[in-house]
């Protein structure tokens, strides 16, 4: 009878140890998941904002390129026959702009 009390004691202690360990493990899992979700959320936001900025910058580039194209048609440096300018280079920037 004394022995069975001892065994019960041991069982109870083991149960309690396991309960606490399981609780710790569950807590660790939720904390890990919460951290991941936080990081993920911040990555999504950064992603959207970067794409928005790229859109803005490309818009600006387009606008500039249009402005330059329009100018090329009427640039006095290119069209005035008094200027001894070689045929405008069909490269990146219009010929009238300084290098």
């Amino acid at each position: 009878v004394f022995q069975s009390h001892e065994e019960d004691d041991r069982k109870v202690r083991r149960r309690e140890k396991n309960r606490v360990a399981a609780q710790r493990s569950r807590k660790k899992q939720t904390q890990k998941a919460d951290k991941l979700h936080e990081e993920y959320e911040s990555l999504e936001q950064e992603n959207t904002s970067l794409k928005r900025e790229i859109g803005k910058l490309t818009d600006e580039m387009k606008h500039l390129s249009e402005v330059l194209k329009d100018h090329e048609k009427i640039c006095p440096l290119l069209h005035c026959t008094m200027n001894f300018v070689t045929v405008p280079r069909p490269d990146a920037l219009t010929g009238c702009l300084p290098r």
């Binding site: 991941l36 993920y40 950064e46 970067l50 790229i54 580039m61």
Partner: protein, 148 residues
């Protein structure tokens, strides 16, 4: 991109840019083992590029009030009891599997976003540099010859 060059079709519209359409080449290949862990066999393979996770999905799981464990002596463990246990055990397994799957998917997408963001940051830097050069040249011209 230089001023005279035509931009890709999806960026040639006059309307405000939709961030969704902006694409940047991202050299990203998820580990096939991870991908397998994140895909449901009966359905399409999980794609980190397309699959977003909403706020709703990211909220921590609601804590359901569990019924206290009542000890049941062996003689009361009849067939009905075991049928109930089996049903609950299956549901618990499904729940654990679904949760594991979701976490794997989120992890893969997060990893993909890291790569994509890095490429996007590079693109922003390149565009700013290009823009800077053009504006500088333009400013020099306008300094000498007045506004365009």
């Amino acid at each position: 991109i230089s001023p005279g060059q035509i931009l890709p079709a999806n960026r040639n519209t006059p309307s405000p840019i939709d961030p969704e359409t902006i694409q940047v080449p991202v050299g990203y290949e998820p580990d096939p083992a991870d991908l397998a862990l994140s895909s449901i066999p009966g359905q399409e393979m999980f794609d980190p590029r397309k699959r977003k996770f909403s706020e709703e999905e990211l909220k921590p799981q609601p804590m359901i009030k569990k019924a206290r464990k009542v000890f049941i002596p062996d003689d009361l463990k009849d067939d009905k009891y075991w049928a109930r246990r089996r049903k609950n055990n299956m549901a618990a397994k499904r729940s654990r599997d679904a949760r594991r799957l979701k976490e794997n998917q989120i992890a893969i997408r997060a990893s993909f976003l890291e790569k994509e963001n890095s490429a996007l940051r590079q693109e922003v830097a390149d565009l700013r540099k290009e823009l800077g050069k053009c504006k500088n040249v333009l400013a020099k011209y306008e300094a000498r010859h007045g506004p365009l």
